[in-house]
């Protein structure tokens, strides 16, 4: 019998041997790896380290273009030439700078400034000697290349927006990454690297960006360029096609901006295809010059944008919310018809006001409209007709109808910053204001005032649904065959279709007869004498327009009576419309902030835009 202690020691020795052999094996493996690197692969690495030495520079991928539905380029890269200099830290440096100064015709001040920069060792090379230089200057420098050691001319792509002012809110812009974003890696610290900051550039930055490549540069011992060893150009970003028609967009922006007469600045309009939901134009004025942002915005331009009371940076089409005013009346009419509170024969008497709960609710037409049916109520925009059924209708039924037509929630357009608007109901008021709902408030809501808020995009969507009777959804990206799979991933919950494939929208759950009554009412607004839009109708037999005007009180009647007619207190002017009346194809919404009366200000704009739609895109 062995004693336990001896056995313990024996075991230790044997296991020590096993692990000792294991350690020896691992050390041998290290030696083998060293052999592989230093003998087997040595030549390759010697090449890489030779004459010194490889440096890696990111190669920025070409950023994807943004193209309109007809193929016009809305965002692209423009090549700009610039001069970079890597000082050799020798006496030659000054001679090189002098030569460049002579060729580029610098004045004394610039020369001194550049010389200082080039000799300052705390500035890490390369040093930018000239930006956006002309082709002639490039040629001059190329000719004297022999005397310009360390000077490199490169041609980075600079983002360029051909329709800067007309597309700024849709496209957005690219800019330098912020300090936080620079932490994301060396690529983000590259001086030419830009990321999408706003609009589609921001929303689809990952797709447009592509993947950066790497350039392996051989430099000499002083860090100057010797030759390019290899270059991986990366993967260019994907192009994006938008549903916008650039020509139409330009017309709409110019029409909105060129208001003539009144000092109106803030306005917005949306044109939508009723069949597909394609947003053909989405305009917001005042606009801004997105090209100013690409190279870093100048402080005074930024200050001007920030100080403007008309918030030029805001895309009013999706981010500004207004009471819909009378443009909401078709919804109230439809709700009343659906609940059987009125029929097309129901007539109400309008003496110019409606008494409810001891309060007088006024019609906009003080003398009154007399006896009106639902057609007349829409045609003349009679408030009293809607007041008279509002209390019985109730806010919750009205809200449910509004939601069916896309109000109160985001439309899900593929853009950042969309606002949801507001469709109030009893539960909302209880939750937000902790107060009960009063029927008097339903009267206000029935004519699109009170708490109701909509965006111009929602107004266009509402109109498209009223005209088409289907639950159309707006979109601003035209899916292409190549990017269709990616698109599905991007829009959470929103189905995206391949081109050529008809987008399928289910019908809105309302009685088609009732919808037809409302559509006829909207037809009479424009095309029957006495309608609020009659003077602004389209007179083409194959392309007539239906619609509804709206004038939104910014202050209550009582207040404005005693105050001067100042811009900030003037009514908002609204118009919604669609055309043609039969088989509708296009829906439109126009909002002019503080423009005055909808029929006088917004209506004519809507007519002109629709005329342009007809001329550009056909009936």
């Amino acid at each position: 019998m062995r004693n336990p202690k001896a056995q313990k020691r024996f075991g230790f020795g044997r296991r020590a041997l096993v692990l000792g052999v294991g350690k020896a094996t691992l050390l041998t493996a290290l030696a083998a790896r060293l052999y592989y690197l230093q003998v087997g692969e040595s030549e390759k690495y010697q090449d890489m380290a030779e004459g010194n030495r490889v440096r890696l520079y990111p190669v920025l991928p070409r950023r994807g273009k943004i193209i309109d539905r007809s193929g016009q380029v809305l965002a692209t890269g423009n090549v700009q030439y610039r001069v970079l200099f890597t000082p050799e830290r020798s006496a030659d440096d000054i001679r090189v700078i002098e030569k460049v100064a002579e060729l580029l015709q610098w004045d004394e001040g610039l020369f001194m400034q550049m010389q200082k920069k080039a000799l300052d060792r705390s500035v890490s090379p390369p040093i930018l000697l000239g930006n956006a230089i002309s082709w002639e200057q490039v040629a001059k420098l190329e000719v004297h290349a022999q005397k310009l050691a360390g000077v490199v001319i490169d041609a980075p792509e600079v983002r360029y927006y051909p329709y800067a002012k007309h597309m700024a809110h849709i496209i957005g812009y690219v800019g330098r990454p912020s300090k936080d974003e620079m932490e994301d890696g060396p690529l983000f610290r590259h001086p030419d690297f830009r990321i999408g900051k706003n609009g589609l550039e921001g929303k689809f930055d990952d797709e447009l960006q592509g993947k950066a490549g790497v350039r392996q540069i051989e430099v000499n011992a002083r860090g100057a360029f010797v030759r390019e060893l290899s270059v991986d150009r990366g993967t260019p970003g994907a192009d994006i096609t938008v549903t916008i028609d650039a020509d139409l967009q330009r017309f709409v922006i110019d029409r909105l901006a060129g208001q003539g007469g009144l000092d109106v600045e803030g306005a917005s309009a949306v044109v939508m295809d009723i069949q597909t939901g394609d947003v053909l134009s989405m305009a917001s004025v005042p606009s801004y010059d997105s090209n100013q942002f690409v190279r870093g915005i100048k402080p005074d331009y930024w200050k001007m944008l920030m100080d403007s009371s008309d918030s030029p940076m805001t895309n009013k089409s999706i981010a500004a919310q207004y009471p819909p005013g009378s443009t909401f009346k078709p919804i109230t009419a439809l709700a009343g018809l659906e609940l059987g509170l009125i029929t097309e024969k129901t007539r109400r008497y309008c003496p110019g006001f409606f008494k409810y709960g001891g309060r007088k609710f006024h019609c906009w037409h003080r003398p009154g409209h007399g006896h009106v049916d639902v057609y007349g109520a829409l045609q003349h925009s009679c408030n009293v007709f809607f007041y008279s059924m509002a209390a019985e209708l109730g806010i919750d039924n009205l809200a449910a109808m509004a939601r069916k037509f896309g109000l109160g929630t985001k439309c899900g357009i593929e853009m950042p910053g969309e606002k949801p608007g507001l469709v109030p109901d009893k539960a909302w008021k209880r939750a937000m204001l902790d107060k009960p709902w009063y029927n008097g408030e339903t009267l206000n809501s029935s004519i699109g005032q009170g708490y109701l808020l909509v965006t111009p995009l929602q107004l266009a969507l509402m109109t498209a649904r009223l005209a088409g009777g289907r639950q159309v959804m707006p979109r601003i990206i035209l899916p292409s065959q190549a990017s269709a799979s990616e698109m599905v991933m991007l829009d959470s919950g929103q189905k995206v279709f391949l081109p050529g494939e008809e987008r399928e929208f289910s019908s809105i759950e309302v009685n088609p007869r009732n919808l037809a009554i409302v559509q006829e009412g909207m037809n009479r607004v424009v095309n029957m004498a006495g309608g609020t839009m009659y003077t602004n109708r389209l007179e083409m037999s194959d392309f007539q327009m239906a619609g509804k005007t709206g004038t939104v009180q910014v202050l209550s009647n009582r207040t404005f009576k005693h105050t001067p007619w100042k811009k900030s207190e003037r009514y908002h002017a609204l118009f919604v419309g669609y055309a043609p009346v039969v088989n509708p194809r296009y829906a439109i919404s126009v909002v002019v902030e503080h423009g005055g009366y909808g029929a006088l200000i917004a209506g004519p704009i809507g007519r002109d835009i629709m005329q342009e739609v007809y001329d550009k895109l056909g009936g």
Binding site: P4, K5, Q7, K8, R9, G11, F12, G13, R15, A16, L19, G20, K23, A24, L26, L27, L30, A31, R33, L34, Y35, L37, Q38, V39, E41, S42, K44, Y45, Q46, M48, A49, E50, N52, R53, V54, L56, P58, G185, P186, L187, V214, A221
Partner: protein, 376 residues
């Protein structure tokens, strides 16, 4: 009577100094000297700032080495658990009062103006505690699963605290060393197979459950495919491989390494110092250092086996294993066969904490040699 006892004590210290393992110490000196030369080269042929201070670290370390070696092994044995707890305490202090070491890692502790990394100390503390446990464990219980519970807790608790700092490299080294010690103590093969299985299953879970930090993941991903991110984390590996590969058989010569001299290799004085050696001294120099380490490990293992107590055996073996794993992980990382985990090359990489704690740890090996016949 009092005087004679005192005299015997003095005599004992002198005797102990005579019994120190001089071959072992010679190897340590040789390896450290290679480090001094490399640090001189890393500073472009200047003794400052690194080589001079590293020699100073070495001097302190040698002092610690001798002190650790001649203190009676019975003292270390008695206080093993206490020292282990002190180590854990320091780790906890680092967590709450530590100094940020970059990348959100809290690894440094500031005591009396000196900064040091308690995780360096924790490795030795863990080794001592495990060795102490197995000395006391009855031979019949080694194979039992119940006998494994306490050492497993000793290892995992310390490793977990280090991991939380977060210091994945050191935590892994502690876990590997602990495993090797259990094996040496006599735990059966089957249990290791089982443990390996658990690790294989747990790794993907830890990966996805957010236990492993993003920068740690990035290192593993970069290691698997350095070309994927040649400007970020992959840069170190690519540049290091260029430095090593371009060294060839004979090397470019002392102070002539272009890659390391021109600062292409980052961290060249600390974690990537081996690339300077491989570039300037070539395959010859690299293999020579590997052989020196091999001899050091071999000598250390001889000392472990020669000891008559289980505590001494496992203590020496554990310390040697810690050092060996450091060497392997560091060189593997620099040569691009292991991920970059920020582990220094023992005795060579610049750094006071690493140098002093490595030497103090190796002092325990010498201690075991001096006291190899002491019964516990």
């Amino acid at each position: 009577m009092h005087r004679t006892a005192h005299k015997r004590e003095e005599l004992l210290i002198f005797r102990k100094l005579q019994k120190l393992p001089f071959l072992f110490m010679l190897l340590i000196l040789l390896i450290s000297s290679v480090g001094f030369l490399l640090l001189y080269s890393a500073a472009k042929g200047n003794i400052d700032p690194w080589a001079s201070r590293q020699m100073f670290h070495f001097a302190i370390g040698v002092f610690a080495f001798v002190i650790v070696a001649i203190i009676d092994i019975r003292f270390w044995f008695q206080f093993s658990y206490f020292i282990y707890l002190c180590g854990l305490g320091l780790l906890l202090m680092t967590t709450f009062a530590g100094v940020e070491g970059g990348l959100g890692a809290q690894r440094w502790l500031n005591i009396g103006g000196f900064q040091f990394q308690p995780s360096e100390l924790a490795k030795v503390c863990m080794v001592m505690a495990v060795a102490r446990y197995y000395q006391m464990l009855h031979i019949n219980n080694i194979q039992k699963i119940t006998g494994m519970i306490i050492p497993a807790i000793l290892i995992l608790f310390a490793a977990l605290l280090v991991f939380k700092q977060p210091n994945l490299g050191t935590a892994s080294i502690m876990a590997i060393t602990g495993g090797a010690m259990l094996f040496m103590a006599g735990v059966s093969w089957k249990k290791f197979a089982l443990a390996a299985l658990v690790v294989v299953i747990a790794l993907p879970v830890a990966w996805n459950a957010g236990v492993i930090k993003n920068y740690q993941k990035q290192r593993v991903i970069t290691f698997l495919n350095p070309e994927q991110d040649p400007l970020g984390s992959g840069y170190n590996i690519i540049q290091s491989k260029i430095a090593i590969g371009s060294g060839g058989v004979a090397g470019k010569g002392f102070l002539k390494g272009t890659q390391s001299q021109l600062s292409f290799v980052p961290e060249r004085q600390t974690d990537f110092i081996f690339s300077i050696l491989a570039e300037e001294w070539g395959f010859t120099g690299g293999v020579l250092l590997i052989i020196l380490y091999g001899l050091l490990v071999f000598t250390g293992l001889r000392i472990a086996v020669s000891c008559e107590s289980m505590f001494g055996q496992l203590l020496a073996y554990g310390v040697i294993t810690v050092m060996f794993v450091h060497v392997f992980v560091n060189m593997g990382m620099v040569m691009g066969i292991l991920p970059v985990v920020g582990v220094p090359l023992p005795l060579v990489s610049y750094g006071g904490s690493s140098m002093v704690s490595t030497l103090a740890g190796l002092g325990f090996v010498a201690n075991v040699w001096v006291h190899r016949r002491v019964k516990l």
